[in-house]
C-alpha cells in the first residue's frame, strides 16, 4: 500500500516504523509484517528512485556447504572470514562478522521465497559463481520483488518521506519527525519500534568535504543521491555510539565522465592493468600491473583522489582495447600520443616523454592478460610489474579516471540483535541495519556482494526483533 497523505500516516501509532527503503529496510519490513506487526516504511526517495544503493547492486555473498541455489561447490565460514579479514585488514567486529557470515546461508532460500530470482550461473568475466549469487535483473529487480512482497503483506510505504529527527526519551524512541514531498512542514510519526536503515552520508558533499577536505567535491557518487545521512547525523548529534572512521569512504576509480550521482555499474573501467596511468601533469604515480583489476579496483579510487584535481588518465594502444569489459563511454582516441595528449588536455611533450620512458623500460616476455604474467618494466619508477607492454600500436586510446564513492564507513554501533547503542547503553526500541551500521563489520575495504549480505542478515534480525518487542 502506498500512502503519502501525512494525515493518514500521523493518525495512528505504528507497530514498527522503518526509516529507509533499500534492501535492509525491506527485509526488516517483511519480517516484521510476517510476525503480524503493522509496518510503515518511510523511503526518502521518490518511487522511481526507491531502493537506495541496493538498486545498483548485483549480487549477494553467501556461505554454503555444497551447492546452494545458484551457487556451486563450498564456500565455508572460514574462507569467507579470511576473505573479509584480508580486505578489512582486521578492522572488523569478529562476532558480528561471523554472525553475518553464518546467517548468510539461510538467507538465500529466504530471499528466493520472497520473490528474489537468481541467475543460474554467470557468463561474465568475473568467476564468482562459488562465492556470490547474482540477482536476475540486478538489484532493482530484487528491490521490486521485495516491495511487491511487502505490499502483499500489508506494509504501508510512503515515498518522498524524509525523516529529520528521531525523538528519544531516555533510551526509548517515541516518534519521528518527517517531511513529505516538497512540503517542508514537519509531521510526527508515532511508533512503538523503529528500524533505522537509511544508509550512509556519501551523497552529502558538504559532509564528505568536511571529512576528506575540499578534494571530495571532485568525487563522483556512484550510488543514490538520497543517502545524505540526515538520520545518521541526527543520531550522532543525540549521542548515539558510532563505529567506523568518519573521515573515510570507499572509493573506486571510475570513468571521469560519469554523472555526479547514480552512475552505477556502467561507469566502472577495467582497463587499468593493461594501461599506463598518468595524472594531469602526464606523470605516472603507481604500479598499474600490481594485480588484476577486481582485486586492485578499490585502491585506485584513493590513488586518483590523491592526484592534482583528483583526475587521472589510463592510456592504452589498439592491442589492449578488447581485453576488458566495454564501458559506457567510448574511449578518447587519436593516431598519435601527441594528438591524444591534446584531446585530453595534457601537456603533449610531457606525455610523449612519459610514454617513451615507459616503452623503453618494457622488456620482452609472454603477455598473458588472464593471469599475473610477470612481464614487468625495468629501471622505471614506479614500475609496472605485470602486463607491461609497449604503448606503440595506433590508434591510441584513453579513459579519464575519477574517484567514485560507493559508501561511507561511519555507522551506528549495533549488537548481534541489530539493536543500536545510545550514550547510556542499548536503546530500548531502536534497531539499525544495512549501510547505516555496516561500518561495524566493514571497517575498511570492500568484499563484492557483502553489503547485501550485511543488509539482508541484519535487516531480517532488526525486523524480527522489532516485531517481538511490540508483540
Amino acid at each position: 500500500m502506498t500512502r503519502t497523505d501525512p494525515k493518514y500516516l500521523t493518525a495512528e501509532t505504528w507497530d514498527v516504523v522503518i526509516v529507509g527503503g533499500g534492501n535492509a529496510a525491506l527485509c526488516a519490513a517483511i519480517e516484521a509484517a510476517e510476525a503480524g506487526a503493522r509496518v510503515l516504511i518511510l523511503e526518502g526517495a521518490p518511487e522511481a528512485y526507491r531502493g537506495g544503493n541496493s538498486r545498483h547492486t548485483r549480487n549477494f555473498r553467501c556461505m554454503h556447504h555444497g551447492a546452494l541455489g545458484p551457487l556451486i561447490e563450498t564456500y565455508d565460514e572460514d574462507e569467507f572470514w579470511q576473505d573479509l579479514l584480508r580486505v578489512t585488514a582486521g578492522k572488523t567486529d569478529e562476532a558480528l562478522a561471523r554472525h553475518a557470515i553464518r546467517t548468510s546461508a539461510e538467507c538465500l532460500p529466504w530471499m528466493q521465497a520472497h520473490g528474489v530470482r537468481f541467475q543460474p550461473s554467470l557468463a561474465g568475466t568475473l568467476s564468482l559463481d562459488r562465492t556470490n549469487a547474482f540477482f536476475l535483473g540486478g538489484g532493482k529487480a530484487l528491490v521490486n520483488a521485495y516491495y511487491l512482497t511487502a505490499q502483499d503483506l500489508g506494509v504501508t510505504v510512503a515515498y518522498d518521506a524524509q525523516v529529520r529527527h528521531v525523538a528519544i526519551d531516555g533510551a526509548c524512541a517515541t516518534h519521528l519527525t518527517a517531511t513529505f514531498g516538497d512540503d517542508e512542514t514537519l509531521h510526527d510519526i508515532k511508533g512503538r519500534a523503529f528500524v533505522l536503515a537509511s544508509g550512509g552520508f556519501q551523497a552529502d558533499l558538504d559532509w564528505l568535504a568536511r571529512a576528506w577536505g575540499p578534494a571530495a567535491r571532485n568525487f563522483l557518487i556512484r550510488g543514490t543521491p538520497y543517502n545524505r545521512g540526515v538520520v545518521l547525523k541526527d543520531m550522532v548529534d543525540q549521542g548515539a555510539i558510532t563505529v567506523g572512521d568518519p573521515t573515510q569512504c570507499h572509493a573506486v576509480a571510475i570513468d571521469g565522465r560519469a554523472p555526479k550521482f547514480d552512475g552505477g555499474i556502467v561507469t566502472r573501467l577495467d582497463c587499468v592493468p593493461f594501461s599506463m596511468v598518468v595524472n594531469k601533469n602526464a606523470d605516472r604515480f603507481y604500479d598499474e600491473g600490481e594485480d588484476v583489476w577486481p582485486k586492485r579496483y578499490a585502491i585506485w579510487g584513493r590513488l586518483v583522489a590523491a592526484q592534482p584535481d583528483q583526475v587521472a588518465y589510463s592510456i592504452i594502444d589498439s592491442r589492449a582495447i578488447d581485453l576488458f569489459m566495454p564501458s559506457v563511454y567510448p574511449p578518447i582516441s587519436a593516431g598519435t600520443i601527441e594528438e591524444l595528449a591534446r584531446k585530453l588536455g595534457l601537456p603533449p611533450e610531457a606525455l610523449c616523454d612519459t610514454v617513451a620512458q615507459f616503452n623503453a623500460a618494457c622488456r620482452p616476455g609472454t603477455f598473458q592478460p588472464q593471469q599475473l604474467d610477470g612481464v614487468a618494466t625495468e629501471g622505471l619508477t614506479p614500475p609496472k610489474t605485470n602486463w607491461a607492454r609497449r604503448i606503440a600500436e595506433p590508434p591510441f586510446y584513453a579513459y579519464s579516471l575519477r574517484p567514485g564513492v560507493t559508501f561511507t564507513y561511519l555507522g551506528l554501533k549495533v549488537d548481534q540483535s541489530a539493536r543500536a547503542t545510545g550514550p547510556g547503553g542499548r536503546y530500548d526500541n531502536i534497531w539499525s541495519a544495512g549501510e547505516m551500521m555496516a561500518g561495524s563489520i566493514l571497517g575498511q575495504g570492500y568484499l563484492a556482494g557483502f553489503g547485501m549480505t550485511i543488509g539482508t542478515v541484519f535487516g531480517r534480525i532488526a525486523g524480527q526483533e522489532a516485531a517481538a518487542y511490540v508483540a
Binding site: 522511481a48 561474465g124 532493482k140 521490486n144 555499474i265
Partner: protein, 368 residues
C-alpha cells in the same frame, strides 16, 4: 581540465533516429549486463562491442517487448541515461519493417494508422459484395453465393502476391543482419523458440512484465499463443479444404466431423479469444514502453484479425440461412483485406521475428 563529454549516453542528441537511439541504449546495456538471463537479446548484446546497423536490426527483431528489462533497469527516467529499451527496440523494429517492405509506401501507412486498416476492411467488404452480386454462384453451401472458381480467381493472387512481397522483405532483412545459409537445425531451433515463446518466459518461467508493471504474468504469452495457434489452425483448415477439394474431390460444405471444421472451429475460437485478450492486455499496459506512434495500427490489426476469425465462426453458425450471403461477403472481405495488408501491417512481425530467431540460432551456434 578537459574531458570529452560528447557522449553517446546523451539521449537528446540522437533520439530522432530510431537505430541510433537503440544503439545508444544497447551500449549502456552492454556495459551493465544485469539483465542477461531475461531473454535472448542480452546474451546477443554481449557478443559485440560495436553495433552495426544490422546488429541493431537483429536485436530489435529478437526483442519480444516483454518489458522485464525496463522494470529491472536502474537507468530508466528520471535517470539521465533515460533508458527505455523495450520502446527503443520497438521503434527500431517497426522502422526496419517499414524500410524492408516492398513497396514501402503502404507499410508506413498501415503500420501506423488503424483507420487505413479499417478502410482496407471496408474495401474488402465492398469488393466481396460486388463479386457476389456480379458473379453467378455455383454449388452448395457458400458456393451457392460465390462459385469456387471465382473464389480461387480472387484469393490465389491475393494470397501469393503478399507472400512475394514478404519474401522480398525477408531477403532484405537477411542481407542487413548478415544471415548465413539456413540449415534444418537453425529452423528447428527457431520453431522451438517461437512455438514455446521462450523469450516471453522471463528467463525462468515467471512470465513477463507486459501488463502488470513490476509483477510478472504469463497472460501475454497465453493470449499470444491463442492468436498464433488459432491463426495456424484456421490456416490449416483452409489448406485441408483445398486438399480435400483438389486431391479427394470432396467439396464444401463440410460437416462438423470433417478436417476443415475440426481445425477451423477451435482455431477460430482461439483466434477470437486471443485477439480479445490481446486488446485487453494492451489497454492495461504502459503505452510508453511500446513502439512510438504505432499503437493505432497495432490495435487496428488485432481488430482486423479478430474480426476475420469471428466472421468465420458466424458464417458457420448461420449456415443454411439467408444470412450466409452477407456473412460470406463480410468474412471473405476481412480475409482479403488481411491477406493484402500482411506485408505492411503488424502481421509482418511474425515473419521478421521468425527470421530473427533463425539468425539467433546461427549466431549462438557460431559462438559456442
Amino acid at each position: 581540465m578537459s574531458l570529452d563529454v560528447t557522449l553517446q549516453t546523451d539521449p537528446g542528441l540522437i533520439l530522432d533516429d530510431p537505430v541510433a537511439e537503440a544503439r545508444r541504449q544497447i551500449e549502456v546495456c552492454n556495459a551493465c549486463r544485469y539483465c542477461e538471463g531475461f531473454c535472448s537479446v542480452f546474451p546477443a548484446i554481449t557478443r559485440d562491442k560495436v553495433f552495426a546497423d544490422g546488429d541493431i536490426t537483429q536485436l530489435a527483431n529478437l526483442c519480444h517487448n516483454c518489458r522485464g528489462c525496463y522494470y529491472a533497469c536502474q537507468y530508466t527516467a528520471p535517470h539521465e541515461f533515460d533508458l527505455n529499451l523495450p520502446r527503443a527496440l520497438a521503434a527500431a523494429r517497426v522502422d526496419s519493417w517499414e524500410r524492408f517492405a516492398w513497396p514501402d509506401g503502404p507499410a508506413r501507412l498501415f503500420q501506423a494508422r488503424g483507420e487505413a486498416l479499417a478502410a482496407a476492411l471496408v474495401a474488402g467488404f465492398a469488393l466481396m459484395f460486388a463479386a457476389i452480386a456480379a458473379l453467378p454462384g455455383g454449388g452448395a453451401g457458400f458456393y451457392a453465393w460465390l462459385s469456387h472458381g471465382a473464389m480461387v480467381a480472387i484469393f490465389l493472387p491475393a494470397f501469393l502476391l503478399p507472400l512475394v512481397a514478404v519474401a522480398v522483405g525477408l531477403r532484405r532483412y537477411w542481407n542487413e543482419v548478415g544471415g548465413a545459409r539456413v540449415t534444418w537445425a537453425d529452423l528447428r531451433d527457431a520453431v522451438q523458440s517461437a512455438g514455446q515463446m521462450k523469450n516471453l518466459s522471463g528467463g525462468q518461467g515467471q512470465g513477463c512484465n507486459f501488463e502488470k508493471g513490476t509483477r510478472f504474468s504469463d497472460a501475454r504469452r497465453h493470449v499470444h499463443h491463442a492468436v498464433m495457434y488459432g491463426f495456424l489452425l484456421c490456416f490449416a483448415a483452409t489448406s485441408a479444404g483445398t486438399i480435400l477439394h483438389y486431391v479427394f474431390d470432396m467439396q464444401a460444405p463440410y460437416g462438423f466431423w470433417s478436417l476443415p471444421k475440426l481445425l477451423g472451429v477451435p482455431g477460430g475460437i482461439l483466434l477470437v479469444a486471443g485477439c480479445a485478450g490481446m486488446l485487453m492486455l494492451r489497454s492495461q499496459a504502459d503505452p510508453a514502453l511500446g513502439a512510438p506512434g504505432r499503437s493505432s495500427g497495432e490495435r487496428g490489426f488485432i481488430w482486423l484479425l479478430g474480426f476475420a476469425g469471428l466472421s468465420g465462426l458466424a458464417l458457420y453458425a448461420v449456415r443454411g440461412t439467408g444470412l450466409t450471403g452477407p456473412l460470406l461477403a463480410l468474412h471473405l472481405g476481412a480475409v482479403l483485406a488481411f491477406f493484402l495488408v500482411t506485408p505492411y501491417s503488424k502481421m509482418a512481425h511474425g515473419f521478421y521475428r521468425f527470421a530473427a530467431l533463425v539468425r539467433e540460432a546461427q549466431d549462438k551456434k557460431a559462438r559456442t
